[in-house]
Structure formats: C-alpha cells, structure tokens
C-alpha cells in the first residue's frame, strides 16, 4: 500500500472512526499496524519512539503504543488518559481515528470519541471472547448511534487461527448485539501483531472469506450516514457586510444539520413560525442551487424577518419537535454527581439555554444493560435516562433520527465545565 499521490487525492472522502478496547487487547498495536502499513508513520517519529521504548521499558520490540500516548503522564504510566486523534490516508480515503482509552473510568472519553464517528472498531481478545468491557463498548457505540460497528477478533494467532473459536465468539456477540440498536455489524478475525487480515489478507485463515479490516474501512458506504431528509438549518451567525457593494445583504450563516436545501424552497423560521422562500444560497466561491449536510453556507431569504443565532430554518412541511420538556439518555462527565432538581446551562445546536433536572428515570448498568430504577446517584461515567425542562423551547429531533439536532451538552454554571452529554429520545 502506498500513500495517496497528487492526482487521485482530490476525490477522496473522509471516514471518522473510533477504536475501543481494553488494556492489553492490542488496540495500540492495531493502530500502529494501520499507520505503519499505510506508511503514515514517519522515520523521525519511529526513531523517537525507538528511543523512548529503550528508555522506559528496556523493551526489545518497538512499542507502537508510544506513538499514540502523547502526554508525559501517559507515557510514564503506560496508560492512555485522553482521546487522541490520529490521521492517515490511503488512495481511497482519508481517515480520522479517535483513539480512546477503554477502561470504565474513561467512559466519558469513549463517548466523546464516539460522538463524531461513522464507525467503531471494537477489539475482542480471541482467547477471552466476550467480556464485560466488550458489552460496555458495544453499548456505548449503539447509544451514540455510530452507524457501523466492526468487531475485530484479535490475537487469532494465539488460538491457532481456529475457525471454530471465531464462530463461537461471533455467535456470542450476535446474541448480545440483538439487544442493541445497531444496523451494520461486521466481524473480522485478525492478528494485529502478525498483520493477519489488517491490511493484507491472512494466509493462515483460508476459511475466512470476508474482507480485511483495511478493505472494509476503505469501502464501507458512508454517504448515507448524514440525514438528507429532514431539512434543518440552525442559524449560527448573521452576516451583514454593510458595505457599498453589499449594502442590503443580510445572510444567515450556519452548517446544515440535515436535509437538502434548494433555492426557491418554502421554509419556516423557528421560533416565529413565519414562512418565506430561500432567495439564495451563498458561499465565497459563488451561489449554489442546493446545499446539504454537513455543508457550511450562508442563506438569504426573500423577506427579512427577525432571525438570529439560536433560531432555525426548516422546511414548512417537515418540522422538528418544539418543546421545553426533553427526555434524554445522559452520560455524566462531571466530577461531582448530577444534582436532582439541579440547574445547568444547556447547549443545543447554536442555542444556549438553562435547564432544570426534573427526574432521573433510571441508571443503566453499562456492563449488563440492566435498568437500575432505584439508583438515582449519577456519578462521573454513569449513563442515565433523565427528564429536563428548559427555560426556552428547543427545536429538536430524536437523536436516532439526527445526531446534530438530537444532541445537547450540560454545563456546570459555577465551573463552566462540560458535565453531561445528552442524546434526546
């Protein structure tokens, strides 16, 4: 595999994926392998980690984990603390990896990495099969509605590349995943260490007829991952040049959160409910006839009503829900527990509001998926279903329908820290 050349680089698309795995399941080795085999590790990076490997552990083999563990504390303790972003490209695609630590105390980091991902790679040790951590990683991937999940059954070399063992684990995983809402699940037997089925097809597993991991990543269909049905345009910024050339220009700048907007479309403005038409869709490079998610554009309307940041332009015949009472699955990230009846700042698309926690419906045991209806003590890394009431109505869709108009964050008003990630039900 060679890096992309100039001539074929212009029509590549972008896949964002997250990797979840626990200590010692070979996650860093797998990422190192993908970067190395796609020639994305450079000589000076290699030399730097060779030096560091020798210094820290006196290890004989180069420790590829040192490539992803960027902070001093991480290298010293040999653990991954935070989400790290890695980049590589093949002639077909550019990839962004959100590499997240797998331990339970870092659930919030996993949620963060998963929030922007099209695909999740979940590593399973072939010797151990489905363990508690696998359940947790799968649950988070399904909760965050990552469209594609790839289970990599790793360390196949340590189970003699056994088809039987692979099928056994696959059945276990399929049974577990039937409890989750995931559309696209795949299973690949690999050895990250030896390179089997990562980039190159394994010669040791003739019984496996499927694609290698890299082929899967390069070819999986992702253009359907955005919502192109429900037109949603949260107004982010109002552009008013007030120059002679553009004296009367008043444009609403934002990033399309869903659907396809066309010039001439009848649209409704929220919250006022006024109806008008799209006069033009503007960019620096000229006017467009249509624009779709996730494009950043500036929309001009035929009539100018009062419309500002936090408002939304939608299609008249397809409108979001409008309410002050919101039900959500909430991943708690704050150091102090969620306060029942507590007040928090809430951010939803470009809108800022405040909210009060009306009820904690239940807490989820993220290892067994059991609902704990009597446990209202929501600590950092817990996931719960809660009901909140906002100071002003939000215009939202269910998270399962639209990841942008269906997500919120909660902020502690005293510390300004982001303490909760909510997915609207």
């Amino acid at each position: 595999m060679s890096p992309p050349r100039a001539h074929n680089y212009m029509d590549m698309d972008l896949l964002r994926f997250t990797t979840a795995g626990s200590v010692d399941d070979g996650k860093s080795t797998l990422i190192g392998r993908m970067l190395y085999d796609s020639k994305s590790i450079f000589q000076d990076q290699m030399e730097a980690i060779e030096k560091a490997s020798a210094r820290i552990g006196g290890e004989e083999e180069v420790n590829l984990a040192l490539l992803t563990d960027g902070l001093r504390a991480e290298r010293e303790q040999g653990i991954t603390i935070d989400v790290a972003y890695r980049y590589f490209a093949t002639p077909k695609r550019k990839f962004i990896i959100a590499d997240t630590p797998g331990h339970i105390q870092y659930t919030r980091n996993m949620v963060t990495g998963a929030s922007t991902a099209n695909l999740a790679i979940i590593l399973v040790d072939a010797r151990h099969g489905l363990v508690e951590q696998t359940c947790r990683h799968s649950f988070i991937a399904s909760l965050l509605k990552i469209p594609h999940i790839v289970f990599c059954i790793n360390k196949m070399d340590l189970v003699d590349y056994s088809e039987e063992r692979f099928e056994e684990i696959r059945e276990e995983l399929e049974a577990f995943c039937s409890k989750l809402e995931v559309n696209d699940i795949r299973f690949i037997p690999i050895s990250a260490l030896k390179g089997d089925n990562v980039v190159n097809k394994s010669t040791k597993m003739d019984w496996y007829q499927g694609s290698t991991l890299m082929y899967t990543l390069e070819n999986i269909h992702i253009s359907g991952d955005h919502n192109h049905v429900d037109c949603r345009f949260p107004v982010q910024y109002v552009v008013r040049p007030q120059t002679n050339e553009f004296h009367d220009f008043r444009g609403y700048a934002g990033r399309i959160a869903g659907g396809v907007f066309k010039k001439g479309d009848e649209v409704t403005l929220l919250p006022t409910g006024f109806t008008t038409k799209i006069a033009s869709i503007n960019t620096f490079n000229g006017e467009l006839d249509e624009a779709f998610a996730p494009m950043s554009v500036t929309i001009c309307l035929e009539e100018d009503y009062d419309l500002s940041r936090g408002d939304m332009i939608v299609r008249t015949n397809n409108q979001p829900e409008i309410s002050q009472d919101i039900e959500m699955m909430l991943c708690w990230m704050g150091e102090s527990p969620l306060r029942p009846n507590g007040k928090y700042a809430i951010k939803h698309t470009s809108k800022d509001a405040r909210c009060i926690v009306k009820d904690i419906r239940y807490k989820v045991d993220i290892n067994t998926l059991h609902r704990l209806e009597d446990d209202k003590n929501i600590q950092m890394n817990d996931i719960a279903r809660v009901a909140v009431r906002t100071t002003t109505p939000l215009f939202f869709d269910r998270y399962s329908r639209n990841r942008i108009t269906g997500s919120v964050i909660l902020i502690d008003e005293a510390t300004n820290r982001t303490v909760g990630a909510g997915m609207i039900i």
Binding site: A84, Y85, S223, H228, A293, P294, T349, I404, S407
Partner: protein, 301 residues
C-alpha cells in the same frame, strides 16, 4: 437518487468554517494568530470564506521574533494590504528590551521559547478572550490531544490532563474573567490536506516554500540558512544548495530540505513520498521528548 457526499477537503473546510463562526459568535474580542506560514495562511483564507461577503471580523496578531525570514514579512505585509485586515504585531525584541525575558546565549540560541511571553503580553494588552491558532493535531503528539476550543487559565496555562470533553460539534467557550481560549480551527487537517487545499484554491504562499538557491550550513542533521542571527562554529561550512522549507519558523531553528520542488504539484509529490515529518527539521521540538507539551502548558501556541 443523487448521492450527497463531500470530498474530504470540502468536509474539512466546512468544519473549519463552522468553528470560525462559533468563535465570532461566542467571544467578544477574538484574534487570529498569524505567523506567515502556510497553516495560518490557510486558516485566514478559511476565515475570509466564513464571513464573506463581510470582512473578517477580527484582527491578525503576529508575534515577531525579529528573526523571521525577510520573505515571510514581505508576504505578510502584502496580504494585509490586499485584504484590508487589521494587523497587530507583538515584538519579542520589545519584550527583551523591557526585561520581560532574557535572550538565550550560545550556538543554539533561539527566540522560540521567548515568544510565549510576548504572546501572552499581547493577548493581555488587547484584552483578547480567544486566540485562534493554525495548530494541527497531526503535527506533534501533544497536539494530538488538543481540543478545538482549548481552555486557558488566567496565567495562559494549558492543563492537558483536565480538558473539557468536546462532543459532537458543540463547543463550550464559557469562561471566568481573565481566562481565555485558544481555538484551533484546522485541528483535523494534515500537512497533505493543507498542500492539496492550497493547490485547489490557488492560495498564494511565501516564496521560500518553493525550491530556491540559498547559502546554508549543516548542524545536527539540519540545514540552517546563513544569517546574522546564528553564531556559527568554525567547522560549520557555508555552501550554496538548492533547497526549500517545509515549515516557516525562525531562521535560527527552521531547517531547509534539499529539494527541486518548484511548483505546488512537485511539493505534493515530495510530501507524499517523504519519510520525515515536517517538524523533523525543527530543532525547537527536538529539545526533549515532551518539548511541545511543556511549552504548550506555559501558554505557547
């Protein structure tokens, strides 16, 4: 049905424009750091797109070490004249003259570390509450952990172990008095993306990125440009070579590479075949394993 998909460059562009508009919306007095290098040039180009047809609603801040390549300053001044953007210059020489910092001495003396004091002073003077930088996560491993919206305390410090989680595209720019944010709109771009975008958008860049003849000498495996700011050892011999620069920093710490790439297409071919990262020629990063993390904690770019 038509397939609605974007190329990766269009998707990156859209994401960066979104971040730039968030900055203009969430902060009262933002500023864009501008070094004259390709990353800050692309970031400024994206800002022009984000607010078009209005002007970019914030000024540029250049932290001037006094050790710049003359070509960089020439380019900066031309860009300012052509676009009408406001430029603020923070001078490291002024900081030295005021006794705020002390100049390093010796053969490897560099003003790189001194920039942090000048930067923080300029931010304070201008009462800026957000400073946008052209840092990319693929550049360096400490930067791989950086957020788009990166919170700084009242001393300008970065606390990498205690960062705010950043979910979806919802950015939390709330802060207390005296604190500020560093924002990195092109976090997700790689060196290759930047070059492809420059080619695609026909963006002008300083001439020293292209192959040219220059007097250089070798030190610790790097080719440094001969100039008044570097003290040479007796055994360091100046030779004329055909070179170009992959990054633009101070003349004292930015190494050249031997190259015949005199067009963008040739540069892209060279970058895609290269086995050394662009910062491989930067001696400021080589000082220790955690050189970048340490500088960033203190408030570096």
């Amino acid at each position: 049905m038509q397939s609605y998909s974007l190329t990766h460059l269009k998707e990156l562009e859209s994401e960066s424009i979104f971040v730039l508009r968030e900055v203009a919306s969430q902060f009262e007095n933002p500023v864009m750091l501008f070094s004259g290098g390709k990353d800050s040039i692309v970031m400024f180009h994206l800002a022009r797109k984000a607010f078009w047809p209005a002007k970019v609603p914030f000024p540029l801040l250049h932290v001037d070490t006094g050790h710049n390549f003359p070509e960089t300053i020439e380019f900066r001044d031309k860009l300012v004249a052509e676009t009408g953007v406001q430029l603020i210059v923070g001078s490291v020489q002024d900081s030295i003259d005021k006794g705020l910092v002390v100049e390093e001495k010796g053969y490897n003396a560099s003003r790189n570390a001194l920039q942090t004091a000048t930067l923080l002073e300029s931010l304070e003077q201008g009462k800026f509450d957000a400073a946008m930088g052209g840092g990319r996560r693929d550049e360096e491993k400490a930067r791989a952990k950086e957020r788009f919206f990166s919170h700084r305390d009242e001393f300008g410090q970065w606390d990498p172990k205690n960062q705010r989680p950043e979910l979806w595209n919802i950015f939390n720019g709330r802060k207390l008095m005296g604190e500020h944010f560093r924002v990195f709109p092109i976090s997700n771009w790689t060196e290759m993306d930047i070059w492809q975008y420059i080619l695609h958008e026909k963006i002008e860049i300083p001439s020293i990125y292209f192959s040219h003849t220059r007097k250089v000498f070798e030190r610790d495996g790097s080719l440094l440009a001969e100039c008044d700011y570097i003290q040479r050892r007796d055994n360091e011999i100046v030779e004329e070579q055909v070179v170009r620069f992959r990054t633009i920093g101070d003349m004292t710490c930015t190494g050249a590479v031997l190259s015949n790439a005199d067009t963008l297409e040739k540069i892209i071919e060279e970058v895609s075949a290269s086995r050394v990262t662009e910062r491989g020629a930067r001696s400021d990063d080589k000082r220790s394993e955690a050189a970048m993390e340490d500088r960033k904690k203190q408030g570096y770019f």
